[in-house]
Amino acid sequence: MATGEAISPASTTPAALGWGKTLAWAVPMMLLTALLMAGGPNLPKDAHRLISLIAAWLFANYLFLRMVRTGKTDRYRASYFIAIAFGFCLTFVPNLLEMRGNMALTDEDMLLGKTPFCHVVIPMTLIPAALTRTIIFPGSILGGFAGIAEMFALWIGFSLILGRGWCSWGCFFGGLDEFFSRLAKRPVIRHIARRWTYLPYAVLALVVVSAAWALDPTYCMWLCPFKTVTEYPQVDSITRAVQAVIFLSLFAGLVIILPVLTKRRTQCGLFCPFGAFQSATSWLNAVTVRVNHGACKDCGKCERGCPQFALHSGALNRGRPDLSCSKCGKCVDACPTGAIHFQVRGSGADANAGVARMLFIFPSFLFMAVFGAGMIQGGLYRLLLLVTTGSLLK
């Protein structure tokens, strides 16, 4: 589209910007992502890696440009978010296969601290770390593949900016159930009792207490559905076999089947303990989602569309979604009257929602683009290897 071209009626929203303002936001994003994705002036010498880097950069900036231009947040966020999840799996598993020869984690690997650390373990490590000054995870604190200190630093930074928004803008697992939740045209299961939205808090309480009691990351050992697509303890006993069955069942049920049937992110909204934990950090963020009840026509589009079960009549009357809101922007995009909007904390309801939206999506997208770039690049690199050499492995 040329500069100054009229925005099509279908994409016209109060948040849509003209080309001048769009470029004013998009050009800094292009420069920052170029700088941060490349990691310095030296570009990769390997052609496959260079092509992956350029493709990831173009992909991110095309999506951001469209996000700013059309005023729609969710569909462009989701495209990158889903790409991160698939890129992560495509990078992680071949890496393991190259390093260890298989996806199974042996006791020896755990003793040597070779287990990559993921953010979901964070709530389980806090109490034992405070009480015993040890990290109850068989990973490396500094360095290595996905070190503990690195993940903590990222989590603190991301939580300050986004809070629960991590679940829609940062989590490299979340894109999987987001993908499956978008496959069906209409939900088969329309109603899920609200009481189930409290289940993640129970899972959180249980894994935090049991981890502190057993000094073991119990969620990783027993309940993580994503072991199915990452790594799992080697099956050498009945206990390990039961664990493997639990991982597979939870992955099939919560990440594939229920998201398809409900068109919601059931793993994130009904089970994930990290999401429940992350809800507490939403209080720290400058930008939040608010509902102008006076402008609401009770059409129910937001409530039906919310993937995290954060909107219902009570929340709409209250003027804000539940704590489980991950600021994906789907409700903001769906609302025909603009009653749901991003809002800077402390500003009045009459404040410019478009500015608040940009203040939110710019840092959020930048963080997501840079954080996920390695995974998308890695995934593209593996696909290029597959096309050119016939194997995902080097």
Binding site: Y198, Y201, A202, V203, A205, L206, S237, I238, V242
Partner: protein, 195 residues
């Protein structure tokens, strides 16, 4: 968990500590009984480890089913709304000292792993009084952990917190079901079972 439930429904702090007293009394009676039984049966029970596992496993599985029903079944609020709340789970009935006493006795006599260990140790006692004294010390040692629980009763005021707690109980039930199943398998000497 039972004590948490009693504490959440007991009303005032005075009531909660009163119920704790009855609960502990029931527990002390249960432990004294176990001491006497341990002395009577001596080391006989140690001769059948498979029977051990089977009984313990079935006990855990029964407990698990109850916890699952309590955690994921319709709660008192839903049942009250639907008008099908049985009288025995009326909130007020939780405040009954007799229920606390019985609860203390039943949970005290429950053959959990530490109790079985203590039972095996007490079974080596030479005299009845020695076995009972051993169990009363065991009671004192474990009672310390129960004392702060009445102070947490105020958390029951929040419905959402009660719901989360119920789900957590249900999830624990799922774990007990698994643990019980493994013990039963071990008890029946299933060849694949590993220690």
């Amino acid at each position: 968990m039972l004590l948490s439930l009693l504490a959440a429904d007991a009303g005032t702090s005075r009531n909660r500590f009163g119920l704790l007293g009855f609960f502990l009394l029931g527990r002390a009676v249960a432990y004294s009984t176990l001491g006497a039984l341990a002395w009577r049966f001596g080391v006989a029970i140690q001769q059948w480890p498979a029977w051990h596992s089977l009984v313990l496993g079935l006990g855990l599985m029964t407990c698990a089913v109850l916890l699952l029903w309590y955690g994921f079944g319709p709660g008192p609020t839903e049942q009250k709304r639907e008008g099908r709340l049985p009288p025995c789970v009326n909130r007020r009935s939780y405040r009954n000292p007799g229920l606390a006493l019985a609860g203390g006795f039943v949970t005290g006599i429950n053959p959990c792993a530490p109790v079985l260990l203590a039972f095996a140790a007490a079974a080596q006692s030479r005299a009845l009084i020695e076995a009972i004294t051993f169990f009363l010390w065991f009671f004192l040692g474990t009672a310390v952990y129960l004392l702060p629980l009445p102070l947490l009763g105020f958390l029951g005021r929040w419905d959402r917190l009660r719901l989360v707690a119920r789900f957590a109980v249900g999830l624990m039930g799922a774990y007990y079901l698994y643990a019980g199943l493994l013990l039963v398998i071990r008890g029946t000497q299933w060849p694949l079972a590993k220690p």
